[in-house]
């Protein structure tokens, strides 16, 4: 007995499938990279600067917070970096550095850490941060103004702005295929539909995002826009235009799917996605904002806990 080896007495199960949080974060970042690279090619070094600053500042804020509050360092799980990257994807390439610094602070500290850190955030941190930034510094998010110094070989007006101001006549010159291939102005990583869809399909297949949410969100956008368009085609744009412009595709695969702020039960996931899609088009078509995606996501984040109460009855549950 005395000479016996010390054995580890842990608890069941003694197997684990090997998944981890870092793996999830890095896969989301990897999937986002395609759209980010498309942004780099479109906007050049300023975009690289914004993305790098955003990712590194997001990591810095988390590290600073965990050090200050004497919590264990969680920077290695890649979660803060992921939010930094997603935040940068929504920003214009010409965003001044101080907006990036403030934005990452809002995302990591206000949007995530004060709620209790990873898994506890009620809202998507990057969406919350961007929404605050847009309200506070509206001019820096004017995509028409942001890219005046650029010479594009395509129509360099922000499509949703054109739609808001001139209705469907204003967007007659946009080619849907052009929009899909990223020949439009917008956030660094939100312009190229093809890259976002490829990244999204990757994430859905690998199970890092819940496909039910993404698909029902897109279905929600499509159906609502289709109904509006059928009722009054003179006033409302078609569904594909709504899907290919603004933050719609970014939201479908990277924003509305965020783990902690979205539901996990089957029916709530579908309602959540459909509701998000409905709100996007409602805000764009009859609301005050040009692109309603961020507010749609935040509103759905708000109802998530309530929605997730709809759940299948557990086997053996008594009454």
């Amino acid at each position: 007995m005395i000479n016996q080896n010390k054995l580890i007495v842990s608890h069941a199960p003694f197997w684990h499938n090997g998944s981890g949080i870092a793996e999830r974060s890095y896969n989301v970042m990897g999937a986002a990279l395609l759209a980010v690279l498309a942004g780099f090619m479109r906007y050049g070094m300023p975009a690289v600067g914004v993305v790098c600053l955003s990712v590194s500042m997001a990591m810095f804020w988390e590290l600073a917070y965990t050090r200050l509050t004497k919590m264990p360092d969680t920077i290695g799980d890649g979660n803060a970096a992921m939010f930094g990257l997603v935040l940068a994807m929504m920003l214009p390439a010409t965003t001044p550095w101080w907006i990036v610094v403030i934005g990452t602070f809002l995302a990591i500290i206000i949007g995530r850490q004060i709620y209790g850190g990873i898994g506890s955030n009620a809202f998507h941190p990057a969406v919350l941060a961007t929404a605050i930034l847009i309200i506070s510094w509206k001019n820096h998010f004017n995509f028409d103004g942001a890219y005046v110094a650029y010479n594009f070989d395509f129509l360099s007006r922000y499509p949703l702005g054109m739609l808001k101001n001139f209705g469907p006549r204003g967007i007659a010159h946009y080619d849907l295929m052009d929009l899909f291939l990223g020949r439009q102005v917008g956030g660094i990583g939100s312009g190229c539909g093809l890259a976002l869809v490829l990244g999204g399909i990757y994430l859905m297949l690998r199970g890092y995002i819940r496909w039910e949410v993404s698909v029902s969100f897109l279905v929600g956008v499509f159906l609502t826009a289709q109904i509006f368009n059928m009722v009054n085609p003179e006033r409302f744009a078609g569904p594909l235009f709504h899907i290919l412009t603004g933050y719609t595709l970014l939201a479908a695969f990277f924003l509305i799917t965020e783990d902690s702020s979205s539901p996990v039960n089957p029916l709530p996931m579908v309602i959540y996605g459909l509701g998000g899609g409905l709100l996007v088009v409602l805000i764009r078509n009859i609301g005050a904002h040009t692109d309603g995606t961020l507010y749609a996501v935040l509103t759905m984040n708000l109802v998530n806990p309530l929605l997730d109460k709809i759940r299948p009855k557990a086997l053996g549950k008594v009454a």
Partner: protein, 427 residues
């Protein structure tokens, strides 16, 4: 070890491991010098114990621990009692440990021969309750819960474990005899066998009906068998016997059959030994044999920080010492290398939903774990279906945060049970 599929979207399957066909003979573990028996009865004091150190017992002798006890245990070997001492198990369970120095050529007790010649329920309950597979014979008694069905389970309840399936392949005659004996002593009960779906063929002559269950985890767990095969849902917090079923592992039925036909209490337990590489082999050891003897016979060496697990990889329980003995319900013994022991973390739930997708009984694990972590066991039980959990271990297996969900669930159930007992005591 099963790893996450590259396509995480695909529904993972956890197939049970069937024994090879034809089944290889089990490795016989030689009778050890001493055996120990755990009797689930708290050890009060030396003076309260009837059985004294130094007393001789016969193989197959019914020994009473306390004076006036109806219950007792059957000594698997002949020998001399060398120690009677208290032992504390998991979750505060208290046992009395009986150590017997074995005498290989010691006398055989012949009291069981009379029971075997004329089997009665009381006689079988007295002598065979602690035989391999731990047949729940006491459930069939009048005083217990209303039982209408005896389920003979040829299903193993964990991965890599093949003990029950092995018995159904290799001890068919014993099982058949056991069924006949059960029919004789519990004539009014309905007897049904359950085997994995792909092995359902060939049980037509057994004397009872055989039904098929899915051959993947957790379909082999009794609560799931009741639901999937018999269409009876076990209400939360209750056991299969509360819906009228007594679960007899196939090995228990085989042991009853063999004991009665040989007029000698069968005490050789079949154990699936799972080595560090996950390779399994069947061994046969007398109940009470310390694990060290089995490991030595199988040529398995345990290093520092390795794990020794009673049961399978999903639901087993790690023990701290190789002196731990084979018990009547020890179906598997698993050895895990220190490098493979998964460690849990203190990360919170990130709400990824993997546990919700995999839970076979739709427990809202993501919410449940938040309440369990906060120690709010009552809310967990009332609102988040703590008692519906069938303890298959799959939620912890898939958790990317490495939260010990399964352990939290067990702890929650244990704490509630403890509170209930304390309240009952105070009333």
């Amino acid at each position: 070890m099963i790893k996450r599929s590259f396509f995480g979207l695909a529904t993972p399957l956890f197939p049970y491991d069937p024994p090879p066909r034809p089944p290889a003979d089990p490795l016989d573990i030689p009778l050890p010098e001493t055996i120990s028996l755990y009797i689930e009865k708290p050890f009060e004091s030396v003076s309260a114990v009837k059985l004294k150190v130094g007393e001789r017992v016969h193989a197959g002798q019914f020994v009473q621990l306390m004076p006036g006890d109806a219950e007792g245990t059957v000594s698997p070997v002949a020998g001399r009692v060398t120690a009677v001492e208290p032992y504390s198990g998991d979750f505060g369970r208290r046992y009395t440990r009986l150590t017997i120095a074995a005498e290989p050529s010691g006398p055989q007790d012949d009291a069981f021969a009379a029971v075997a010649a004329e089997p009665t329920l009381a006689g079988l309950t007295r002598y065979l309750s602690d035989c391999p597979g731990a047949p729940p014979l006491h459930l069939l008694d009048e005083g217990g819960p209303e039982i209408d069905t005896i389920v003979i389970s040829g299903m193993d309840s964990d991965l890599l474990m093949a003990t029950s399936q092995y018995v159904m392949e290799s001890r068919v005659e014993d099982v058949k005899k056991g069924i006949a004996v059960l029919k004789q002593v519990a004539a009014e009960k309905h007897i049904v066998g359950v085997v994995p779906r792909d092995r359902i063929q060939g049980y037509g002559h057994m004397g009872c009906e055989f039904l098929a269950a899915d051959a993947s985890h957790p379909a082999g767990m009794p609560v799931k068998i009741m639901h999937d095969v018999f269409g009876r849902t076990v209400p939360a917090g209750q056991r299969v016997e509360d819906v009228g079923a007594a679960f007899f592992p196939a090995e228990a039925v085989a042991a009853i059959g063999r004991s009665v036909s040989e007029a000698r209490v069968e005490m050789h337990k079949l154990i699936t030994v799972i080595d560090k590489q996950g390779v399994t082999r069947m061994v046969s050891a007398v109940i009470g044999t310390p694990f060290s003897a089995i490991l030595a016979a199988c040529g398995i060496t345990l290093g520092a920080r390795d794990s020794l697990i009673v049961g399978g990889p999903m639901t087993g329980a790690a023990v701290y010492s190789t002196d731990h003995p084979v018990q009547a319900d020890t179906d598997a013994l698993m050895v895990q290398d220190s490098a493979d022991v998964p460690l849990s973390s203190d990360y919170p739930c990130i709400n990824c939903g993997e546990c919700i997708r995999i839970c076979p009984v739709h427990v809202p694990v993501n919410m449940l774990i938040r309440f369990l972590e906060a120690g709010q066991y009552e809310t967990a039980a009332e609102e988040y279906d703590l008692h519906c959990c069938i303890e298959c271990g799959l939620c912890s297996f898939v958790c990317p945060s490495h939260i010990p969900i399964f352990q939290y669930i067990r702890l929650g159930k244990y704490e509630l049970e403890r509170i209930k007992a304390l309240e009952a005591e105070n009333d």
